[in-house]
Chain length 248, copies 2
């Protein structure tokens, strides 16, 4: 039996479920039994806030991530993914070790490779929480791809995207389904990055793809969901014959 | 540290995620770290089709369910739930053993107890897949509550609900979001059971609550989501102080 897929969730809890959901959606299956074995470990108290650690020297999340990876490996996971953009900072993830024979699939590296393959070269935009933007995680990975240029929106736009995610009344985290106000803020940001010459925009936060309901482009601008890319890579590392693949 | 919540998923895969999502939604939390530890094991090949076993003598799903429960117990789960109505047939679940100190929380028993507490006595309707209806699982549990009468819709209505779930073009499993056609079929069935004197209707399949977008009643008829009830019971068995509770 092929190895299982392991998911380190809890960062946040819903992001772990979103990654698992995308694995199931990307699997060729006509019955329950066709699905690949999957384990999810959601132990948020083991993994302190990533943004806090990167920006203000808070508690180190790396040991907790490693503990979760070891549990998943012990259960039989052959490929493990972490459902959190910020945890992918090289300052965190490069210190997480997994047992030999187990692959820790890197979401952001996979996303960059996916973009390089499908969009070749040029400007690629990003929208995300202020934490993801200010910690510069995507910048660090994009530095390895000289043909690609990462473009951020003006600070004012980043703040409106952040509000669309976090606002207590109309933010997507509160309402679950995007309100017209949140949708407009997010779509406006994508439009702005398109006008700045970006052929595609990375939706660097789990809540953002909800605005586009699974569409792969918006007004001619490609939309890239790193969670979806990670889901396909987890399948590719375990049972590649079952991978549906992302439609562009 | 209090024990963790364990979820036996894979039956089907999306139902396991729905149960986990409802646990997170029912938890009092203002940060990721406030959430209760949760493990999900999704090994669908270990657990053969439950309806097939009950109606046609197919392979026994009980040993696979027990194997998943043992894995979850070994990881530290103190309360375990199975995200599948059909698996709750006493002919299956009564043979699943868990280590001492671990509770296997019964979704349908919990649902009956919830109904007895909040609706007292009288007629309670059920809509579900034909598999759940024909295997008579809810009938077996309701037999323990003489004040409650379980009412099923006419076979024609049950078939239209089944189609609303499974139809390849407009069924909820295919479209993810309920189409108008699926919504009308499901709402019509609830209305019909209300007219037959039911004060509440059990939405006995993971896809059905999507039609009502979290509403707890429809045209004065109470709506009961067994997955939501199970989620609250899993929290009650691990960290009851963190339980939000179902609003009626």
């Amino acid at each position: 039996m092929a190895g299982a897929i392991g998911i380190i969730g809890g960062v946040g809890p819903m992001a772990g479920l979103d990654l698992a959901r995308q694995v199931f959606m990307q699997t060729k299956a006509t019955s329950d039994q066709d699905h690949i074995d999957l384990f999810l470990v959601s132990c948020p108290r083991l993994i302190p806030d990533r943004t806090e650690y990167l920006l203000h020297g808070g508690d180190d999340p790396a040991p907790g991530i490693e503990a979760c990876a070891q549990r998943l490996s012990a259960m039989g996971a052959a490929a493990i993914g972490v459902a959190c953009n910020t945890a992918h900072s090289p300052r965190i993830l490069s210190r997480v070790r997994v047992p030999s024979g187990v692959v820790l699939v890197n979401m952001i590296d996979s996303t960059c490779a996916f973009i390089a393959e499908h969009f070749g070269k040029g400007k690629i935009g990003i929208i995300a929480t202020l934490g993801t933007i200010h910690t510069g995680i995507y910048d660090e990975y994009f530095a390895r791809y000289p043909d690609l240029e990462l473009v951020k929106a003006p600070e004012q736009t980043n703040r409106s995207v952040h509000e669309a995610i976090y606002h207590r009344e109309w933010g997507i985290k509160s309402t679950q389904r995007p309100t017209p106000q949140a949708s407009e803020a997010v779509k406006g940001a994508v439009r702005e990055l398109g006008q700045a010459g970006c052929s595609a925009v990375i939706l660097g936060c789990t809540e953002l793809p909800l605005v586009f309901q699974g569409q792969s482009s918006f007004e001619g601008i490609g939309l890239i969901d790193p969670t979806e890319v990670l889901a396909t890579e987890l399948i590719r590392h375990t049972q590649p014959d079952k991978l549906i693949g992302i439609k562009l």
